[in-house]
């Protein structure tokens, strides 16, 4: 699964996610992360997020929208909201994977509870990083 989130000069944010799913999937199974609200979500008031991992678990916890809700209703910042979902809610049901997110101020977070996640970030502040492992 691949994905991207972005915040532009106008403070608008967006999310995109794409996948081939799981190896040997059957019965027309869908449910990797590219489902709106589960693995892909964007709202200028809160965040834009894209998820990767065991899609069924992201569906169950409505992971992407949950990050947004934690920011909107519990006043959490992006990192704390993502951490709650990735390292508490998903872990509680053995959900393995990660989430990348940005907010409308250009802040970002890249969190995962698995051994690794292919990831990268580039900002107008001059930050430019790619990484695989923790």
């Amino acid at each position: 699964t691949v994905g991207a989130v972005a915040c532009d000069m106008q403070g608008n944010i967006a999310a995109a996610t794409s996948t081939g799913g799981m190896t040997n999937k059957n019965y027309g199974r869908i449910g990797d992360s590219p489902l709106i609200g589960c693995g892909t979500y964007a709202n200028n008031k809160t965040c834009a997020v894209s998820c990767t991992g065991h899609g069924e678990l992201f569906i169950k916890v409505v992971a992407a929208y949950d990050v947004s809700c934690l920011m909107e209703y519990a006043n959490m910042n992006l990192h704390d909201a993502m951490n709650k979902v990735v390292n508490e809610k998903l872990v509680a049901i053995n959900g393995e994977g990660g989430i990348i997110g940005v907010d409308a101020k250009g802040n970002f977070a890249l969190l995962f509870n698995s051994e690794g996640m292919y990831r990268g970030v580039k900002t107008s502040d001059g930050l430019n990083e790619v990484a695989i492992y923790k």
Binding site: T1, A6, A16, G21, T23, N24, L35, H54, M117, K122
Partner: protein, 175 residues
């Protein structure tokens, strides 16, 4: 105003022992190319939506990642892909699922968002919409990768399945 792009490939049990320096370099190069594609749009005043889609297209075209070219095999030995986009400015969203032969499913998801009254199209219906919109279709060979084929061969004939970057079947059942 600060602008930012972030990208991800898959997550899972990525064993460092299976990762050669050359392969690691190729993965990182792919991620960097995706970042650069999105960032160049942002620094030229483009939209977050265009930047996110541009970055994902680079990763879909990269055979190392499980999306577009290089997608994993289904039980029937096919490639069935899903993609979704959402715009934070107006909460518009689009998605496709179970699509085959579409070179860039993320562009099709964006077209669903921009050119239909719907949020999600699936399978044959999504393919018909793609044809109407003039999308590029590719043969099965385009999506083939030896690495994914070997992964599938290890599981072929079983009811097991696995995450794109994990090394062992979890044996778990979800949902």
């Amino acid at each position: 105003m600060k602008y930012t792009i972030a990208v991800h490939g898959g997550a899972g049990t990525i064993l460092q022992t299976n990762m050669t320096p050359g392969l690691e370099q190729n993965y990182k190069r792919g991620l960097q190319q995706a970042l650069n594609a999105g960032y160049s749009i942002l620094e030229n005043g483009g939209t977050a939506m265009d930047a996110a889609v541009a970055a994902v297209i680079v990763l879909e075209d990269d055979i190392l990642f499980n999306a577009g070219r290089g997608s994993v095999f289904t039980k029937k030995g096919l490639h069935e892909m899903d993609a979704a986009v959402m715009n934070g400015a107006d909460l518009m969203a689009g998605a496709v699922c179970g699509v085959q032969h579409i070179r860039n499913p993320i562009k099709l998801a964006e077209a669903v968002m921009l050119k239909t009254e719907h949020v999600m199209l699936c399978g044959d219906g999504a393919a018909n919409f793609a044809k109407e919109q003039g999308f590029v279709f590719e043969p099965d060979e385009y999506f083939f990768s030896k690495f994914r084929y070997d992964q599938w061969n290890e599981m072929k004939g079983s009811d097991a399945y696995q995450l794109d970057h994990s090394v062992k079947n979890t044996g778990k059942k979800f949902g």
